[in-house]
Amino acid sequence: MSAPVETKIAWRVVFLNDAVTRMSYAVMVLRKVFGFDEPTATRHMMEAHEQGRAVVWTGLRENAEAYVFSLQQWHLSATLETDEKG
């Protein structure tokens, strides 16, 4: 019997820009939550700053939800996305 389809769907954690949050704060939080090194966190922060959003992680829904929750605890805006159509 195959595993439930849900577990195979990739979910994206999308970090959203806002006009309030200090850049160095966002970089620190991305490093702390995802374990990114400084250049990677800075690249994601700049992408969100310039384009409004940055995909910072992709994987299983449960993990993605945990990451979004952690970002929201630090008051960074983030959302979940998937290609799967409901």
């Binding site: 949050t21 850049m23 704060y25 970089v27 008051h75």
Partner: protein, 157 residues
Amino acid sequence: MKRVEVRLSIAAVAPLLDIIKAVADELREHVAVPVALTGADAELASVWHEDLLQSQRDDCDRLLSLFDQEFFTEGVVAFDRDNAEAVLRASAALRLRLRSARLARMSDEALEALEADSVMDEIDEDEKRAFACFVFLDELQKIILKYLDPLSVDEDE
């Protein structure tokens, strides 16, 4: 992180504390960032929301506790390993709430630049005080981040 003591102007900061306290009270019932839980069941969303609110309340309490007797006599607030992250998070939440509830008329550009000069004639006294809180909380974050990671703050300059 070592204990860092910062001396503030009591005359400049004390008038801001009533506003900061009022905004912290608002954050006891409202999350600073809307919960984004696509397609989750209602129970999970409710638990998530309540956990975020509780975390936010705890952080704001830590920030407000900085302004104790020592602050009102010496003008000193102290950060250390135990309170730095909570104060960072509380400052972030308070600034977001100030922006959405009290500085909604200011442009993103003015806020990002932390420059109200161009709009000072257009905003009222309440907005000016809210903006002063917004800038003060940014300075608190800047000080803490500088001691957590001295190179990081340069990126903002």
